[in-house]
């Protein structure tokens, strides 16, 4: 009854403390009644959240099934996605097209929906490519996208007598002219680390083509390749025309400087500059596609991140989930969404475009004419490579554009470490 029994008492006490939590952990989990489809949503902002709800309401009305939406803060959802998919994911969840979808497909976390795709219409070949895993099967239902382009104010261009540049030489000449006129040619903010990726992607795709860009992102090309060096050389040539101090400026501040006519142009995505413009000035906002660098590649590729839906491999109500996925691939579903969120463009060719703003119409046209669609650097490559290597590398480049060789050597050696890690 001395030490041993005391220890036994301690062990029992420990058991008494943990047991209830274990029991609680086992007890949860709703039973599938075949009527309810659960859906994991990262649309935590007011506008998209409401817009999605409109679309799901329409589905509930049509199918007599109910959708249980679990909304999680956008960034939190993204950061926890690995644990989410391994734990008890919802039947259907929102995610991105391209490499970041393929990554999960390869690990067996998604349900193949190739048979559903056979019945889909109105999606371009580029969209199908982005919905396809590395194994050639489809996993993704695209929903909407927003293209990246060079934004400007029509009134500023009119006032200065500027022409829309279609080649890189014209682009540089225009920047030079703007600088002479006392305007900062390019608004630029990269404090958040990702906005500069848009410029890099376009420079690379225009100079070296989409295929090279894709394999560079997949880790198959060397970053010390002269073709990559050329991209950074071109960029360095433009650097004197970019607004100084980009590493300390958010993209919002950059877009505001465009609105205030302090800067002339900005490489941004469709939803970005509009939000920063006062209501009255929104009509004055316009964009043109990133100019051509090599005639071989022209202006073929468009950077247009696609958002959409995936079905997890642990789906509980597969029948209901499939019906929902099928519904989400219809123009009606996209219309229901876009009615409340005018910052994106529907992917389906049959979607109703009559309510589009002029900017949306132009964006839709640009994307539907694209020969290839890229997804943005942080969606086209491994997330660890994008976040731990590329963000710092691009900020280093902005800070000191002259040491390109050192920079690229550094990227390449880190790439080797990351791409060989856990690839067996």
């Amino acid at each position: 009854m001395t030490r041993r029994s005391l220890l036994r008492g301690a062990a029992l006490g420990a058991g008494a403390v943990t047991l209830p939590t274990l029991l609680a952990a086992c007890g949860s989990g709703p039973g599938g009644d075949g009527k309810t489809v659960t859906l994991g949503s990262n649309a935590s902002d007011e506008v998209p959240r409401k817009a999605f709800q409109d679309a799901f309401d329409l589905f509930e009305k049509k199918s007599k099934k109910s959708v249980e939406v679990n909304t999680v803060d956008h960034n939190t959802f993204q950061e926890n996605i690995n644990r989410y998919l391994q734990g008890q994911p919802d039947d259907v969840f929102m995610w991105f097209a391209g490499y970041r979808m393929q990554f999960f497909a390869e690990r067996g976390l998604l349900t193949d929906i190739s048979d559903l795709w056979k019945g889909f219409d109105g999606f371009s070949g580029a969209l199908k490519d982005q919905s396809t895993g590395a194994d050639g099967k489809q996993y993704f239902v695209p929903y909407y996208y927003y293209p990246w382009a060079v934004f400007y104010r029509k009134s500023v261009f009119e006032q200065g007598g500027y022409e829309i540049p279609t080649t890189f030489d014209q682009y540089t000449a225009l920047a030079k002219q703007m600088q002479k006129d006392g305007l900062v040619p390019f608004a630029f903010g990269d404090k958040d680390g990702w906005p500069a990726m848009g410029t890099f992607d376009y420079l690379d795709m225009r100079a070296n083509g989409y295929e090279f860009h894709k394999s560079l992102m997949a880790g198959e090309e060397s970053w010390t390749d002269p073709r990559v060096r050329e991209v950074f050389d071109l960029w360095r040539g433009l650097m004197p025309y970019h607004d100084k101090g980009a590493n300390g400026r958010t993209w919002q501040e950059a877009a505001q400087s465009l609105a205030q006519k302090k800067t002339g142009m900005a490489v941004l995505g469709l939803p970005h500059p509009g939000q920063q413009f006062p209501e009255a000035d929104r009509e004055d906002l316009d964009f043109f596609p990133f100019p051509e660098i090599s005639p071989e590649h022209g202006q073929d590729a468009v950077e247009a991140p696609i958002d959409g839906f995936l079905m997890s491999s642990k789906v509980k109500n597969e029948e209901g989930a499939r019906e929902l996925m099928k519904f989400l691939a219809t123009p009606a579903a996209e219309d229901a969404y876009l009615k409340s969120d005018p910052n994106n463009v529907a992917v389906h060719s049959g979607a109703d475009t009559s309510a589009y703003s002029t900017l949306q119409k132009k964006a839709a046209e640009m994307v539907s004419n694209a020969k290839q669609i890229s997804q943005f650097l942080d969606r086209d490559t491994r997330p660890d490579f994008a976040s731990t290597v590329m963000i710092k590398a691009l900020q280093d480049f902005i800070d000191d554009p002259d040491d390109i060789d050192g920079l690229l050597g550094g990227i390449e050696s880190q790439k080797k470490t990351i791409f060989t890690e856990s690839q067996e």
Binding site: G9, G13, T388, K392, S422, E424
Partner: protein, 306 residues
């Protein structure tokens, strides 16, 4: 005192010291504490150290890579690492050598009873109530290049200083903001400490012919030893766990790298370089252990002397 003697007698009687109920109570209390200790402190520590020798993305199978992660760190194949170590050390140095002594100075001045001392006291203490994330946000309002208050006051429209974007400058601005908060914290602790110093001690020193400086350095300051220890520990902890302020400003990039941020960047999020992030965490643990061990050794020695 018959009760006490009775208790003593029963204790001497033999091994039967606890009733069943005592045992249950001790069992639950001790068991709970042991569990907490194991699960919250030792478990994660051992797991981190173990994982730091692996490569794992949280999804695929874990593979053991030996010391590769540490090679990558030390060999400069991970550029943010050394700046982060430097910044952490800089943080300790700044808080320890600038902010803490300044807090002590303020405490002494206020304790001597300047006019409006209560006003100063609350104003200087105010930032302590704010979380570092809020301090980071305030720092942005002041130091932003295009829209910040400081550049507006300085009026250098044409070539504004990029307080937070210039990587040679921003760490100092952040240290200033962090120090602003730390100073108030230290001041309050020392104010309490100074109040606790018996006035007789000061009088005795004065009678012995000590001037004010001597009184403070030789008598008052050493008397506050317990407070000094607390302040020292807090300073080191604050410096090593610094995270939220740089994260609020620019996610701890572009000159504001810290070890804690690198751990987060690698482990949390889609990146999920869990093995590699753990290796950085172990480095941080080692640095912390250096301070903890020194402190404990000092403490134990002090106890023996007392």
């Amino acid at each position: 005192m018959p009760l006490v003697t009775h208790a003593r007698r029963t204790r001497r009687r033999g091994p039967r010291r606890f009733t069943r109920r005592d045992l249950a109570v001790i069992g639950v209390l001790l068991g709970f504490t042991i569990l907490l200790d194991l699960f919250i402190i030792w478990g994660p520590t051992v797991a981190s150290v173990t994982l730091s020798f692996s490569s794992w993305d949280g999804l695929s199978d874990l593979s053991w890579v030996g010391g590769d992660n540490y090679d990558t760190l030390a060999g400069g194949d991970y550029p943010p690492f050394w700046p982060a170590v430097r910044n952490n050390l800089l943080w300790i140095a700044f808080l320890g050598l600038v902010a803490t002594p300044f807090g002590l100075l303020l405490a002494v001045v206020i304790d001597r009873g300047v006019r409006f001392s209560r006003f100063y006291q609350s104003t200087i203490y105010l930032p302590v109530v704010l979380s570092l994330a809020v301090v980071g946000f305030i720092a942005q309002l002041i130091f932003s290049r295009d829209q910040g208050a400081l550049n507006a006051i300085l009026g250098n429209e044409n070539n504004p200083t990029d307080w937070l974007g210039d990587r040679d400058l921003n760490i100092w601005m952040v240290l200033l903001a962090a120090g602003w908060r730390h100073t108030g914290y230290v001041m309050i602790l020392y104010l309490a400490g100074l109040k606790a110093v018996a006035p007789e001690l000061k009088e005795a020193a004065a009678i012995d012919g000590a001037n004010e400086r001597q009184t403070f350095l030789r008598v008052v300051f050493p008397t506050m030893r317990p407070v000094n220890v607390v302040v020292l520990v807090i300073t080191v902890i604050e410096a090593l766990r610094a995270f939220d302020i740089v994260y609020a400003i620019n996610k701890g990039r572009n000159g504001l790298e810290l070890l804690s941020v690198l751990v987060t960047d690698n482990i949390i999020g889609e990146a999920s370089r869990i093995g590699f992030g753990s290796a950085i965490a172990v480095v941080l643990l080692t640095v912390s252990l250096g301070f903890i061990v020194t402190y404990l050794v000092q403490e134990m020695r002090g106890e023996e002397h007392r």
